[in-house]
């Protein structure tokens, strides 16, 4: 059985309860106190000490209405003719997205880890064994989503454990538990997949045709890593949420790279042999 997340950004109210719940449950430190000016996002990104992160994307669209008031107004899905024949384009949105480790099906971090600290646990989640990690930092560069960092004061790498400890006790992850609008749904990946498809269909029916799933290989661009156990329902391009469009599995390049190196090895060997007079010596 594989467990994972479905994060439905279309019902996220940006309350950050998930971010706080995660830090509290896992007793993670604050990352410092800095007003970024980036909308209401002052924690900026996922890191070894921020395992859930809520992104704030402001894209209110301006429009001119009679009475020339210049502002964001009116419904997203108002299609019908309005009194006074006013022009109404889509409501500018303020979107929120609660980001987390994607728990990749073919996890680059796990394949990179030289110590085997990163494993797939019995819930098929990607889990870092803190007692094994020696802080080599290789997973940091391997992760296509910038999820992991090596925590300075600790020296080891950390990320979302998918609340391994809670799952063992039959509890749902802290972040999902805290989410007031069920934007974060925890469950078996297979069910989540179905739920996601249903929800997207529902959204399309309502006229939100730009809604789509990110994280299932067939749909999103995540085929390169066999998809994610943390899926998302998004309304904008992946980049808007700081997600790569087509993440890939770096280790898929090991093969070519090795072959090329072996060939080069041969060539260089020949060079040396030649230079040291293999020919004439051989002649004698």
């Amino acid at each position: 059985m594989a467990t994972g997340f479905l994060t439905d950004t279309t019902v996220c109210i940006g309350c950050k309860a998930c971010e706080v719940a995660c830090k509290q449950w896992n007793q993670l430190p604050a990352d410092g106190y800095e007003l970024t000016g980036d909308s209401y996002d002052n924690t900026k990104q996922l890191s070894g000490t921020t395992w859930r992160h809520v992104a704030f994307i402001e894209n209110p669209r301006k429009r001119r209405l009679t009475g020339d008031v210049d502002l964001v107004a009116l419904a997203e899905d108002v299609k019908e003719q309005l009194p006074g024949g006013a022009e109404i384009d889509a409501l500018g949105r303020w979107s929120f997205m609660s980001d987390v480790c994607k728990h990749c099906v073919e996890a680059p971090c796990q394949q990179a880890c030289p110590t085997g600290a990163i494993i797939r646990n019995e819930f098929d989640n990607v889990y870092i064994q803190p007692d094994v990690c020696n802080g080599c930092g290789y997973c940091v560069s391997a992760c296509p989503y910038g999820v992991i960092t090596r925590v300075p004061h600790d020296g080891r790498a950390f990320k979302c454990t998918l609340c391994y400890d809670r799952q063992k006790d039959g509890l749902e992850p802290a972040c999902a538990k805290a989410c007031p609008t069920d934007s974060i749904q925890f469950g078996e990946v297979e069910d989540l997949k179905v739920r996601a498809e249903e929800r997207v269909a529902e959204l399309h029916a309502k006229g939100y045709t730009n809604a789509y799933i990110y994280g299932t290989p067939e749909v999103g661009g995540t085929g390169g890593i066999g998809g994610n156990h943390s899926k998302f329902i998004l309304m904008d391009e992946p980049e808007t949420y700081n997600l790569p469009r087509h993440p890939f599995l770096p280790q898929d390049k090991v093969h070519q790279a090795s072959v090329a190196s072996i060939v080069t090895a041969g060539v260089l060997g020949a060079v040396v042999a030649f230079a040291f007079g293999a020919l004439e010596r051989g002649a004698r």
Partner: protein, 845 residues
């Protein structure tokens, strides 16, 4: 709030959060629900999923707006125009729910000809220019003598439940002159129509700056989703109350909801979203100076309250619920003074404290500063940051002889002696800081937004010396009784008589909170058995009850507030989760969910109805009505009490059982809402040019409380203040917590790119915001979410300011409340924190 109290009879939210799921449309105005009530907001989100339309009307595009189908911006302080516009739209286009309006409201009732509407002068008839107050006699129903005692002196008890005075004492039985055709030119309906005629969409656009299309879109959506088959809910909070005319804003909404026929029906409630987890509870079991627990009127030197008898007789109503007053007050006295209190003569009452004037928050603060107050105990309030004109408050605190701050953190209130550059040695206030237990460290109950009591158990012992508030108060009281023991001074008789015998638990000797709950619930004096509800309370001294409205919470000795049966295991009304007052009713006035004959208005909106065979009202909820009173019942001439109410009068706390579109008495600023500009406004009142702001708004002209005059070019911008999800009010509960502090690490103001450009300010630059009270520095968060309003062709800029910061804690910031004047709503003395004027300059000047 009396806005609801006057209209419906009770001030509490008429419904509950879960019920929002049944709404076909939800109007959120005057609240930033998603940010300030994120957990409650799950219900609107569920409704939305089920196809309901969500509307947000707010000066800023917030996280709530982002979730709604329709967002309509409006300039702070202009809601009466917006809502008045909606009323006008409903009346003009005949979109009101006719049967409902005719049967359940006072639309048909005829008003005396002395009544004059405010349309001409901006003031209603009865205005007294010297006294600067109204004489409401000309507002009365035709042929109704009016009972002045009922209108009362300070009318303070309007907060929350309408005190009986305000519930509009009408002689019972007497048939009121009506015109069921609603044609009579002096009938309420026609008066209403004339009154709101000027609130046209054009006017809304001019005054509120709301694009006409946005307004009309809101109006249409509301009308389409109200009526027999559909209902719309309304959520508001302090975006409405914190105005010099807050009560009238809510009145306007209450009137609109009656016209649309939503009240008392599933998915049709008005949710007054409360603040602190148990702020409702602290008005129910009153912390307010002018009411006793259960909204019983505080004895008052200015009323005929000299003796127990006088007090009881004068405060007892003839018809309606408040005819029960003697039972409640007597039981309360028995609960407090036990044996020593004689229900007949009630001598002890002679020594009972009486109101001598306005002792509400602000006057008291000013008293402090003027040296009239010696000391203060401050439980769980950080007024040095949270109270508007906080500098004044801090000056007040610094002028006390002693100050006891009981809090969990070293809040600014406890450190005023070293703030504002004051030299500690020069501050004469002896300050004590007493560490207090927080919610998880003690048991007790919360009464939240929907009047529901929920019990919480203690999960950990409080750290170190921290104790519960109950512990402090109980042991303080115990020691005082020790000190007064044996005193024969009459004035000490109350302290000596006071029952103070709560059992204590554990080695820390914490008083048993359940024993207090039991006392509030009430019991029969003879055997101490808990009563089942307020129906069992007597006025002969045989019962005791600390707060009648909570009577029933401890029925059959079971703590009903502790019930936790999940909603999945019971009807959607979930009557077995916690306990709601009154009598566990979840939707108030729910008799209105059935038509006059007691049949559900529609199958879809079936809730409580009359079952002819059983001869009683039935449904999932407890009927908010005499269970066995048939719809056909009509009171006869000499009927008294609740028997004087007709079988088709769902608003049982109003003398006539009707919802009041027109309020014949009870409000200090008129029987109908009128738009006035905020006390501080950069623009003139376009609707009533003769009156700029609420004529009876409480203002204090003292040198330390100057106001920015209307249209003062030095203060061209409108400021509105509010909350962020990431922090809590004065920040005391959040500024000390790293996980919350990192999410909103410092004070900022939200301004539009236009204003930023005008001032040469770019994102996160420092700015200075100033009023005639003071100035603050903060960073600018520049966002298109802040609209620019057009007013008579010119740009009107608003500045948004969250108010969570102060000099203490992990993350700091200037105190926003240093900017705000003390200008108060006349009925409930709430400050005007949502709309005032200021100037903004680039940089830290």
């Amino acid at each position: 709030m009396p806005g609801l109290g006057i209209t419906y009879g009770r001030g509490g939210a008429t419904s509950n959060l879960q019920d929002l799921q049944n709404a076909d449309c939800i109007l959120i105005e005057g609240s930033n629900m998603a940010e300030a009530h994120p957990v409650g907001f799950r219900h609107p989100m569920i409704a939305k999923k089920k196809g309901a339309k969500l509307i947000h009307v707010d000066p800023r595009f917030t996280r709530t707006s982002a979730m709604c189908d329709i967002y309509a911006p409006l300039r702070p302080g202009t809601d009466i125009v917006f809502l008045g516009g909606l009323i006008n739209y409903v009346l003009e286009n005949e979109r009101y729910f006719e049967e409902y309006v005719k049967a359940f409201t006072n639309a048909a009732t005829i008003i005396t000809e002395d009544f004059e509407d405010a349309n001409a002068s901006g003031l209603f008839s009865g205005w007294d220019e010297e006294k600067k107050q109204y004489n409401p006699s000309s507002w009365r129903y035709e042929g109704m003598p009016i009972d002045y005692a009922a209108v009362g002196g300070s009318q303070g008890s309007l907060l929350g439940e309408a005190g009986q005075g305000e519930s509009g004492e009408m002689h019972p039985g007497m048939e009121r002159p009506r015109d069921m055709t609603l044609q009579h030119e002096r009938c309420v309906f026609q008066i209403l129509k004339r009154h709101f005629a000027r609130y046209t969409p054009e006017m809304v656009e001019r005054v509120c700056g709301t694009p006409r299309e946005a307004f009309l879109e809101v109006a249409e959506t509301l009308c389409e989703n109200s009526g027999r088959e559909k209902t719309s809910s309304l959520c508001y909070a302090v975006g409405w109350t914190q105005h010099s005319k807050g009560v009238q804003v809510i009145r306007t909404a209450a009137i609109l909801w009656l016209l649309l026929g939503n009240i008392g029906r599933p998915g049709g409630g008005i949710m007054a979203l409360r603040g602190h987890a148990t702020i409702q509870g602290s008005t129910d079991i009153a912390t307010l100076y002018n009411i006793l627990p259960g909204y019983l009127p505080m004895p008052d030197v200015n009323k005929e309250h000299d003796t127990w008898r006088e007090y009881v007789t004068n405060e007892t109503a003839n018809s309606g619920w408040w005819s029960n007053f003697p039972k409640y007050i007597t039981s309360q006295m028995k609960a407090w003074y036990g044996e020593a209190f004689d229900a007949e003569k009630g001598e002890l009452f002679d020594h009972f404290p009486r109101l001598s004037g306005d002792h509400s928050y602000y006057p008291t603060i000013m008293e402090m500063k003027d040296g009239g107050v010696k000391g203060a105990f401050i439980f769980g309030q950080n007024l040095a940051v949270g109270g508007p004109h906080a500098k004044l408050a801090r000056d007040g605190l610094r002028n006390l002889d002693f100050l006891v701050v009981l809090d969990a953190y070293e809040v600014e209130t406890a450190t005023t002696w070293k703030m504002d550059g004051v030299k500690p040695e020069e501050c004469g206030t002896e300050t004590f800081f007493i560490p207090m237990a927080l919610v998880a460290e003690k048991e007790g109950s919360f009464t939240q937004t929907q009047r529901m009591l929920q019990w919480h158990d203690k999960s950990v012992e409080p750290p170190g010396d921290a104790r519960s508030d109950a512990w402090f108060v109980y042991h303080l009281g115990r020691r005082m009784k020790e000190l007064y023991k044996g005193s024969t001074e009459p004035r000490d008789s109350l302290i000596n008589a006071m029952t103070w015998d709560y059992p204590v638990e554990g080695e820390r000797e914490e008083p048993s909170i359940e024993s207090i709950l039991k006392e509030i619930n009430g019991y029969t004096v003879a055997d101490g058995k808990p009563v089942g509800g307020f129906a069992e309370l007597k006025d002969d001294g045989s019962t005791a009850s600390g707060g009648w409205i909570y009577s029933g919470v401890y029925a059959n000795g079971v703590n009903q507030a502790r019930r936790r049966k999940p909603w999945t295991e019971q009807s959607q009304v979930a009557p077995e989760w916690g306990w709601a007052w009154p009598a566990n009713r979840r939707i108030l006035y729910n008799r209105a969910s059935a038509d006059p004959d007691g049949k559900p208005w529609s199958e879809r909106k079936k809730y409580v109805w009359w079952d002819q065979d059983q001869g009683k009202w039935v449904g999932d909820d407890v009927p908010d009505f005499q269970a066995d009173k048939p719809p056909s019942y009509r009171p006869d001439e000499d009927a008294r009490g609740v028997d004087a109410l007709p079988g088709d009068g769902p608003f049982i706390l109003n003398g006539d059982g009707k919802g009041w579109l027109f309020a014949p008495i009870g409000l200090k600023d008129g029987p109908l809402p009128v738009h006035y500009e905020p006390v501080e406004s950069p623009v003139p009142n376009l609707i009533y040019d003769k009156v700029q702001h609420d004529p009876v708004a409480k203002t204090f002209d003292r040198p330390d409380n100057p106001y920015n005059p209307p249209e003062d070019p030095r203060y061209p911008y409108v400021v509105t203040t509010y909350r962020l999800t990431e922090h809590h009010t004065s920040g005391a509960m959040s500024r000390w917590i790293p996980w919350l502090s990192e999410l909103q690490p410092e004070l900022f103001c939200e301004i539009s790119p236009e204003l930023a450009a005008e001032k040469g300010v770019s994102n996160t630059d420092w700015v200075t915001i100033s009023t005639s009270r003071g100035k603050i520095h903060c960073k600018a968060l520049v966002s298109e979410r802040i609209p620019v309003y057009k007013f008579e062709g010119r740009d009107l800029h608003t500045i948004g300011l969250p108010y969570h910061w102060g000099p203490n804690g992990l993350v700091k910031g200037d105190v926003v409340n240093d900017l705000i004047p003390v200008s108060l709503e006349p009925n409930v003395a709430i400050h005007e924190a949502k709309a005032f004027t200021a100037n903004l300059e680039a940089g830290r000047v």
